[in-house]
């Protein structure tokens, strides 16, 4: 058994830049994170935060030629994926680390059967007989609880519902029994009851020892599914910690603001806390702390100096000059907002 404290996946100082005509977009700007075996790490962020690009960078599948990984290490069991040759990388992709994309409709080839597409993952990594491949395909489909797997492998993607297509994606991901799965917002397009089934599936996979990096913007999913969470803003990680810690004592004003602004069932009516301003333009990032223009705790230091990622009281990491000490601070701000509105 592997060393329980050594993480399966370790990302250090990852930087991915996109060179566009209007300038350089630092989509991923120095990201550190790690995923343990049998753990689900949630990666939370909004559009422009860089969270999808983190996954693509780990797999070295960033849209080139404009996008390039310019720095960092991605260690899978100690081996740096970024330094591998093309053939080494291909052996790892899909086999030890697999990725699920967001939209199941566009991620499955419409003219190939589902069975073919799952088999492709198997064939890329194992030399099995034809019947061996078929068995592996059915096994994968069964593992993700697709009913009547034997018959359905000959069906085309459009013959499946949205939720089932997402399971097919999961089947492709687990076909070769990977150690790590990167899931890029797999449930965003799904209905709530279908999403609940899918989250259950994810939990089941985690319980078999797979490490999952789950990218989402839905805080509810993070709270329900994840063990630890990392919050991203403008290409950087701003806070990490266990899910219980982060939700009970969010320290970064962005995390705290986000949690406070999301409506929760059975928590009454009335105004919500709102984070002011808009997410920054990736081509025109503010100097200093990237969140400062929208932060209710910002000082001149925040506007001038970008805080480094440091230790977080209570465990995890934090990137902030003036963290939130108490939730009550937000209530004061909220009252001020309500006042201004009236």
């Amino acid at each position: 058994m592997t060393n329980p404290t050594a993480p399966l996946l370790q990302v250090k100082g990852l930087k991915t830049h996109f060179h566009t005509r209007r300038g350089v977009v630092r989509a991923v700007d120095g990201v550190d994170l790690e995923v343990q075996a049998g753990e689900i790490l949630g990666l939370v962020g909004e559009s422009g935060s860089g969270k999808s690009n983190v996954c693509l960078s780990i797999m070295r599948a960033v849209s080139g030629p404009a996008g390039r990984i310019v720095a960092g290490e991605v260690l899978l069991d100690g081996r740096d994926l970024l330094k591998m040759s093309d053939s080494e990388l291909r052996a790892v992709r899909g086999r030890e680390i697999a990725m699920m994309l967001q939209d199941p409709t566009s991620s499955l080839n419409p003219v190939l059967t589902v069975g073919t597409q799952v088999a492709e993952a198997v064939n890329a990594h194992r030399t099995e007989s034809g019947s061996g491949v078929r068995e592996a395909v059915v096994r994968a489909l069964r593992r993700v609880q697709i009913p009547s797997a034997e018959q359905r492998q000959g069906d085309y993607p459009h013959q499946f519902s949205g939720g089932m297509r997402q399971r097919v994606m999961a089947a492709i991901a687990v076909a070769c029994e990977p150690r790590v799965i990167l899931a890029d917002e797999p449930t965003t397009a799904l209905d709530v009851t279908i999403q609940a089934q899918f989250l259950d599936l994810m939990r089941g996979l985690r319980d078999t020892g797979i490490g999952i990096l789950y990218v989402t913007h839905d805080l509810g999913v993070v709270a329900e599914l994840c063990d630890r969470v990392a919050v991203m803003y403008a290409g950087k990680i701003v806070e990490t910690g266990t899910v219980e810690e982060i939700f009970a004592r969010p320290r970064h004003p962005y995390t705290a603001g986000l949690i406070a602004s999301v409506p929760v069932l059975a928590s009454g009516r009335g105004r919500l806390f709102q984070i002011q301003g808009v997410p920054p333009d990736p081509l025109d990032l503010p100097s200093g702390c990237k969140f400062a223009p929208r932060c209710f705790k910002a000082t001149s230091q925040c506007l001038e100096e970008d805080p480094p990622l440091g230790e977080r009281p209570g465990g995890g990491a934090l990137r902030c000059w003036h963290p939130v000490e108490d939730i009550a601070e937000l209530e004061t701000v909220e009252e001020g907002q309500a006042h201004a509105a009236n």
Binding site: A61, R90, A98, S106, V111
Partner: protein, 304 residues
């Protein structure tokens, strides 16, 4: 799937019938053919006689019924100019047209498709840059100008090919180029963009993420999916070549259907016009049907 076939066939039948009506009406609206056949001093009685001979008397509906019943048996009347059965005249010239179209298609696919696919797989590469220029020229240059230029340069100046006339391989090359230049350019551009389109899609990305070798990704996903729009366009172009070779056939004195048609229109030889348009329509509609069915074969989504 059966429903798809049957509906398409029914639609084809109705379209064909509508074509006959249209042709019938248009030919008669464009002028009285009898005037061209009789001498200017003919008396009204003589004109009437001629008119009766050609069945151009009587109400149009009767004429149409006669025409349609004849058509269903393959009898389109006799050519006014040549006094031979109109349909036979058309069918005689059909092989020549088909040969030329086949040559043109070979060029289009051999050159246009190949360059287009390579351009799509390696955008901004050498082939892509050169190919784009050729495509632009091909679509900008008018057919008749190109045909004449080809003759001037390659026949007259260089003497490599005969200037015109029907014959074997050497006779076919220049007209084939003139006939196909537009479609070659169009297919080049379409296949390039179809490939680029598919390459950028999520399922191709996922295939790479599975660890599939790039060559397999290209053949199994990219080419296979890009084939759908490419085949559709290529088929339409082929049909077009079968039907629209008028200019090329005239300039190169190629004895095909196109040339026959233009001459017949000038002479108001309406039986031949009717027969020719009918044949053209049949080929066009049949071609479209084949395209529709091929499409259904390639893309499982539209079968149900």
């Amino acid at each position: 799937m059966a429903r798809y076939f049957v509906t398409r066939m029914l639609q084809a039948g109705i379209t064909l019938w509508l074509v006959t009506v249209l042709v019938f009406v248009l030919v008669r609206l464009s002028g009285d053919p009898i005037q061209l056949l009789v001498s200017p001093e003919a008396t009204t009685a003589e004109i009437e006689l001629v008119r009766q001979n050609y069945g151009l008397d009587g109400p149009w509906l009767d004429q149409y019924v006669t025409f349609l019943t004849g058509a269903l048996q393959g009898d389109f009347g006799s050519s006014i100019r040549f006094k031979e059965p109109a349909m036979e005249l058309v069918l005689e010239r059909l092989p020549a047209t088909i040969k030329l179209a086949a040559a043109g298609m070979a060029l289009t696919i051999g050159f246009g498709l190949t360059v287009g696919v390579i351009s799509g797989l390696r955008p901004s590469g050498f082939v892509d840059r050169v190919g784009s220029m050729i495509a632009l020229l091909g679509q900008a240059v008018p057919a008749f100008w190109l045909a004449i230029m080809l003759i001037l340069v390659f026949s007259v100046q260089l003497g490599w090919f005969p200037t015109s006339g029907y014959g074997g391989f050497m006779h076919m090359i220049l007209p084939a180029i003139a006939l196909s230049h537009f479609s070659t350019a169009a297919l080049m551009r379409l296949s390039r963009s179809a490939i680029l389109d598919v390459t950028g899609s999520d399922y191709v990305r996922l295939a790479h993420l599975k660890g599939v070798h790039p060559f397999r990704v290209a053949t199994r996903h990219v080419l296979r999916n890009a084939a759908i729009p490419i085949v559709t366009l290529a088929s339409v172009q082929l049909i077009g070549m079968l039907n629209g070779a008028i200019v090329t056939e005239t300039i190169f004195a190629w004895p095909g259907v196109g040339r026959l048609m233009i001459d017949s229109v000038n002479a108001r030889d309406f039986p031949v016009i009717q027969a020719g348009v009918f044949v053209t329509a049949v080929m066009f509609i049949a071609g479209n049907l084949i395209v529709d069915f091929t499409y259904a074969l390639l893309d499982p989504r539209i079968r149900y």
